[in-house]
């Protein structure tokens, strides 16, 4: 299924604003991207960058008021999402586009058995009878690796651990075989070992079903191994957009570069201070006139504080919102080449004849 590379989702110039006491908050301000069938797109950003609101907008789930989709176009399979009636929209939500959230406890109904919650979806969207829906529920729980699925289907959400609840959420999301799965920080509330389980599960299910995935996260490590394309958001805007390999190899935006450098990296030497982006995330209600990142940017010059930066095309598939995008990009590529290849991280023990301390870089 992943062979046919048609465009599944196309978002153009999406703007979602919120009216607040502090004035208009431009939570999403001119976001555009495309998602091809079978691909995974990562949306990376800090809190308040607009990554979650972008995806709520796609499903028309932004609370109105105070929220408002001001302009833009979202085409799903060529269909204009914003032109659909509420009834037609309901047929897409949960069936053709499914979503999983960060906190599986608040997204499941605590008073309903897991089986019932799973059955509701297929009864509604696929017209299953109770018996069919029940079988499908058990089947889905087995698919997501729930041990003893038939018995555990009768349990209530509180009887499960965080990781198991997230599996239930994934089972629900995938039970109608959606064309698009939106995962909003799916592993943030989980321990690392459980995060690894869930990420592996999403990868495997994607391989089996060919579903396209949008993965929203603040963790650059998570997107590195999971995605084909990445969008980096800051202050409601797309700051950089590229294929995953290219973005990590040659970031063309000072913000992306700063984010990458501020993650402690095991191959970096100790004793050195960690790179830090100065300042605080912006107050989206009061953005400066020029580039929103300018007050924190180490490359900023006069022009950055004065003029809004252009969205520069750096490569076939690589754009960056920066006055100095080309320069930053060239420098990154150059640094990449001169750097030693990252130490391959394996867990095999050193050979017994070589003492462990010998392995210094």
């Amino acid at each position: 299924m992943s062979e046919e590379n048609g465009t599944l989702l196309s978002v153009r110039e999406l703007r979602t604003y919120f009216e607040t006491e502090d004035g208009t908050v431009k939570a999403v301000d001119g976001v555009s991207f495309e998602l091809k069938r079978g691909e995974t797109l990562g949306i990376v950003g800090e809190s308040g960058s607009g990554k979650s609101v972008t995806n709520l907008s796609l499903l028309r789930l932004v609370p109105q008021p105070p929220g408002r989709i001001v302009s833009g176009e979202v085409l799903f399979n060529g269909e204009d999402i914003f032109a659909l009636s509420e009834g037609e929209m309901r047929k897409i939500r949960g069936k053709r586009i499914a979503m999983i959230f960060q906190d599986p406890m608040t997204s499941l109904n605590p008073f309903m058995r897991i089986s019932k919650q799973l059955m509701e979806i297929t009864q509604l969207h696929l017209g299953h009878t109770r018996a069919q829906a029940y079988e499908r529920a058990v089947e889905m729980l087995e698919t997501v690796g729930m041990p003893d699925a038939r018995t555990r289907a009768r349990s209530y959400p509180h009887e499960f651990s965080g990781g198991m609840r997230q599996r239930v959420m994934i089972a629900m999301a995938l039970s109608c075989e959606p064309e698009l799965l939106i995962a909003d920080e799916p592993t943030t509330a989980l321990d690392v070992t459980i995060q690894a389980q869930i990420l592996e599960l999403i990868k495997e299910l994607k391989r089996k079903t060919g579903t396209s995935v949008i993965l929203i996260t603040h963790d650059l490590g998570v997107v590195a191994g999971m995605t084909d394309h990445i969008i980096v958001m800051y202050a409601g805007k797309v700051f950089e957009q590229a294929t995953t390999r290219e973005l990590f190899a040659c970031p063309g935006n000072p913000y992306t570069k700063g984010l990458l450098r501020s993650v402690p990296d095991p191959s970096h030497e100790e004793g050195t201070e960690l790179y830090q982006i100065p300042g605080l995330p912006p107050d989206v209600a009061r953005l400066p006139p020029g580039c929103p990142f300018a007050p924190r940017c180490e490359r900023a010059e006069e022009i950055c504080r004065r003029e809004y930066p252009p969205f520069v095309q750096l490569n076939h598939d690589h754009h960056s919102l920066c006055h100095f995008a080309r320069e930053v990009y060239d420098k990154s590529c150059h640094e990449r080449e001169s750097r030693k290849p990252a130490q391959e991280f394996t867990l095999n023990a050193p050979q017994s004849d070589s003492p462990a301390t010998e392995q210094n870089q």
Partner: protein, 382 residues
């Protein structure tokens, strides 16, 4: 010291580890934790269970179950583990914010666990804490100035104008403008609030700070700022940290040594770099392997060790080695024998019966073998 692990159960408390550890420059022990236990009694089971099982059904959470470790002056000891492993409880028990059930916490030749409330209060100026949630750990009705001044006033370290000067100094030290002294916590962002929490912890000029997940509630770009701030303060003020975190990347960066905790017990202790690059315990390996690396080339190439299942409940922890239910290397004996924490390599401790100083690499141990059962390693905790 050669004997089977079970015999160690009744062995006397081990001597301070530092006694044999004089190779490094700074090996002054600041805090020595000995066989510390924190058990929470949840009361009996259901009525029926109590009738049937008598006293046995009392449910006890062994949040911290026999932890022994030294914390050296000026170091950062990283404490890692998954949620529910007891790492926060251990941190709180050291400061007696949670009462230990048994065991010792030696500081300045005094056992903190046995001090009276009043004596403990006197020691608290040396022992401070930074909390995870900067939203919940600051009183919303106090101004920043009042929050930071409180420890100074409580311990009568200064009065009047001098207090005010100290507060302003502290604010500058942690990177907050003293202009904000009259503001309330809600007017600050998460990162700034964590700075307020750090200033408050520093106000009493402590020697030792327990930092319980100080960066996990913060944005990525802010985490680096707080880690750098904490490292700078440590250099300037010769602080000793117990840095509790589930984030192995952060621990690898800030800690000198790492202790890995699983279901109330320490299972591996080593220098941070060694623990990260050459872990001995299957659990530590899996933990590290689970952390995604922000580099697609590495991510795609590497094989991740994915553990089966969840962390078992601390109410009825597994018998023997607590990790045996998820361990890919388990053998029959792991169900029965509680592995002692043994010095497998110099200054590198691990609790696994399947390895020993003679055979430290579990991959190379013959299937079914348990060299740890007959090894002669130095044991620091059972």
């Amino acid at each position: 010291m050669s004997s089977t692990p079970q015999e160690h159960r009744n062995a006397p408390l081990p001597p301070p580890v530092s006694a044999q550890n004089s190779s490094e420059g700074n090996d002054q022990v600041l805090i020595a934790i000995r066989d510390l236990k924190v058990h929470f009694d949840l009361g009996g089971g259901t009525l029926l269970e109590r009738v049937a099982g008598g006293a046995r059904v009392r449910r006890v959470v062994k949040a911290v179950d026999g932890v022994s470790i030294d914390i050296y002056e000026g170091e950062t000891l990283g404490l890692v583990g998954e949620s529910g492993c007891g790492k926060s409880t251990l941190g709180r028990a050291v400061l007696r914010l949670t009462e230990p059930t048994s065991g010792q916490v030696l500081f300045n030749n005094r056992d903190l666990a046995r001090l009276s409330k009043a004596e403990m209060r006197g020691e608290r100026k040396n022992l401070q804490m930074i909390f995870q949630d900067p939203y919940a750990s600051l009183n919303p009705r106090m101004t920043v100035g009042q929050i930071i001044a409180e420890p100074i006033e409580t311990f009568r370290l200064a009065r009047g104008k001098e207090t005010d000067d100290r507060v302003r100094d502290l604010m500058e030290t942690v990177g907050l403008s003293p202009r904000f002294i009259k503001r309330y916590p809600h007017e600050f962002s998460g990162g700034q609030r964590q700075r307020i929490g750090i200033a408050r912890a520093l106000a009493a000029r402590p020697k030792f700070i327990v930092a319980d997940e100080p960066i996990s509630a913060l944005d990525v770009s802010i985490q680096a700022q707080i880690m750098n701030l904490m490292e700078r303060l440590q250099r300037e003020r010769n602080l000793t940290y117990l840095f509790i975190s589930h984030d192995l990347r952060a621990i690898r960066h800030v800690a000198d040594r790492v202790a890995v905790m699983y279901l109330g017990k320490l299972v591996e202790i080593a220098d941070a770099k060694v623990a990260y690059d050459e872990p001995l315990m299957p659990y530590t390996k899996a933990l590290i392997s689970a952390v995604p690396v922000p580099d697609p080339e590495v991510e795609i190439a590497r094989k991740r060790i994915v553990l089966e299942g969840d962390v078992p409940s601390a109410i009825n922890p597994p018998s023997g080695c607590p990790f045996h239910t998820r361990c890919p290397y388990r053998i029959e004996a792991c169900r029965e024998v509680v592995p002692p924490l043994v010095e497998i390599k110099p200054k590198h401790f691990a609790a696994c019966i399947r390895i020993s100083p003679e055979q430290p690499y579990i991959e190379q141990v013959a299937p079914g073998d348990a060299p740890g059962l007959s090894s002669t390693g130095r044991v620091i905790a059972r």
